[in-house]
Symmetry: C2
Subunit: 254 residues, 2 copies
C-alpha cells in the first residue's frame, strides 16, 4: 500500500479569469481517484479576490481595534468584513470566518501579491473546489477529488501546516465506526481528518515564498466520494468547543 504526492511543475503566475483546470491538465496526465490539491492563493487570484488597501474604508470596530493594537485599520476592516466572531486581537487576529473556519486574519493575505494589495481567500472554497473539480473531470474524463488549501497555525504548537478549506468529491472526515481493534474490541467512533492530512502532505511540496508549487496531485488512495460534501462537516459545533469558550472567557475579562 502506498501513495505518491506529485508537484505540478511550471504553473505560470495566475491572474483573474485564468483557466486553471486547463493549465493543470496541460501539465500532468490525471488518473482516476487522483486528489488535486490546489493552494487557495491561486484560486483566489483566478476569482479576482485582490483588493487595494487604499480602497478599504475602516468602520468603527476596525478603528477601535487599530487604536488598541497599532495595526493598519484598513487591514483589520478587511478581516472583520469576512469574520463572524473575533476571539483575539493581538498579537494576531484570531477569528471565525463567515464560512465557519477559525484561523488568523480570516485568511486575508498581504504576501505574494504586489505591495498595497490584499488577497482574500475564495468567498466559498467548497464552491470553488466544485467548479474546478467538475471542469477537471470534464477535460480529463477521470474521477477526481479536489481539495483547496491554506496554511494555518495550530493550537499549543508553533508553526503552520497545510489545511483544507474547500473540498469536492472527498469526505473531510473518514469515520472508523464499529470496526474492531486488533483484539476484537469494538472501536468507539474514530474520525480521521483525511482532508487536512492530505493538505499537510501536499504542503510538503508546495512550500512557501518563491517556491511556487500551488498544485500537487496525490495519487494511490481511494477516497473518491460522489455524494455531497462540505468542509463545514469538520468544524466543531460551537457548544462543544471548549477552546472557544476559553477565549470568550478571556475576552469578557478585558
Amino acid at each position: 500500500m502506498k501513495f505518491e504526492a506529485i508537484a505540478v511543475e511550471k504553473i505560470p503566475l495566475i491572474h483573474k479569469g485564468d483557466d486553471l483546470p486547463s493549465i493543470i491538465c496541460e501539465r500532468i496526465e490525471l488518473q482516476d481517484r487522483d486528489i488535486i490539491v490546489i493552494a487557495s492563493t491561486i484560486v483566489a487570484k483566478t476569482e479576482g479576490e485582490i483588493f487595494r488597501l487604499e480602497d478599504i474604508i475602516p468602520e468603527e470596530q476596525a478603528l477601535e481595534i487599530a487604536a488598541r493594537t497599532g495595526k493598519d485599520a484598513r487591514f483589520i476592516q478587511a478581516v472583520l468584513a469576512r469574520s463572524r466572531e473575533v476571539f483575539v486581537e493581538a498579537p494576531f487576529m484570531l477569528v471565525t470566518t463567515l464560512a465557519g473556519h477559525t484561523c488568523v486574519n480570516a485568511g486575508v493575505d498581504e504576501s505574494n501579491i504586489e505591495h498595497g494589495f490584499l488577497l482574500y481567500p475564495p468567498e466559498n472554497s467548497d464552491a470553488s473546489a466544485s467548479k474546478l473539480g467538475n471542469e477537471l473531470e470534464r477535460i480529463s474524463g477521470k474521477k477526481l477529488s479536489v481539495i483547496v488549501t491554506d496554511t494555518n497555525g495550530r493550537a499549543f504548537k508553533i508553526g503552520q501546516t497545510g489545511v483544507a478549506i474547500g473540498i469536492f468529491k472527498i469526505k473531510p472526515i473518514k469515520r472508523w465506526i464499529g470496526e474492531k481493534d486488533l483484539f476484537g474490541k469494538t472501536l468507539e467512533i474514530t474520525e480521521e481528518a483525511i482532508a487536512d492530512e492530505l493538505a499537510g502532505a501536499a504542503n510538503l511540496l508546495m512550500g512557501e515564498g518563491a517556491g511556487g508549487i500551488p498544485v500537487v496531485i496525490i495519487r494511490g488512495l481511494d477516497y473518491y466520494f460522489e455524494g455531497n460534501t462540505s468542509i463545514k462537516e469538520s468544524y466543531r459545533p460551537e457548544d462543544m468547543d471548549v477552546l472557544k469558550k476559553g477565549l470568550r472567557c478571556l475576552r469578557n475579562k478585558r
Copy 2:
C-alpha cells in the same frame, strides 16, 4: 518534485523487547534520506509500557476528578501521573504531559491491547526515536530520519490527525526566513511544521483499528538533519499560548 509514502506490510504483533529495527529492515530496503514514521503504540509495546488497570491506586486528585466526572479513577490516575497540568476534565481530559505535549488523556490508550490493560506512550519519545533511528542506520547503512507518531484531535475542528511526538535527525519546524515571495518582498519568518505534516501523511496509510500498519516510509524529500533536534522545539511557549490562558480562565471560574 514528488515523494512517496510506503506502508511497511505484515509487521507482526509487537511485544516487549522486540527488535523493531530488524523487523522493519527485513520487510523493506531503506534508502538514504528515508523518513521512517513509526506509530507510538508499537514503540510503547517494545518498551513494555503496558500496565494493568487493577494495579493502579488512585490518589486524591484522581478520586476527586472521578467523583466530578464519573470516569474510572484508575484511568484518571494514569493520566495525571503523566501530566503537568490539567486544562479540561470532561467530557475528555485535556492535559499538558510531563514531556510538554498538549493532548487528550496524556496519550494513555486503552484500545488495541487486551482488556483491562492500559498502554502508556513512550516515556521519552525523542529518545525512543533516536534509539530506533541509530539502530536502523546501523543495520541499513543509510542516512535516516525517524518520527514517532500518535493521533490527536485539534482545535476548532472534529477528527484526529497523525502528529509527531518524537523525532530523530529531522527538524520539527522548517523555517523559511528572509526568502522572498514571488514579488521580491521579503517574507517574515514562516515556520512550516514538517514533522506533523509528515505524521499526517503517514497516518493516511496507518489507519485505525485492525488496519494495523504501524510503520510507513516517506521517500523523496530532503529533510535529513544530523544536528540535535527535539519535538519540544515545536511546543508553543506558555507565555505566548492564548488558548491555554483561555482554558485557565474557564478553569478558574469553576
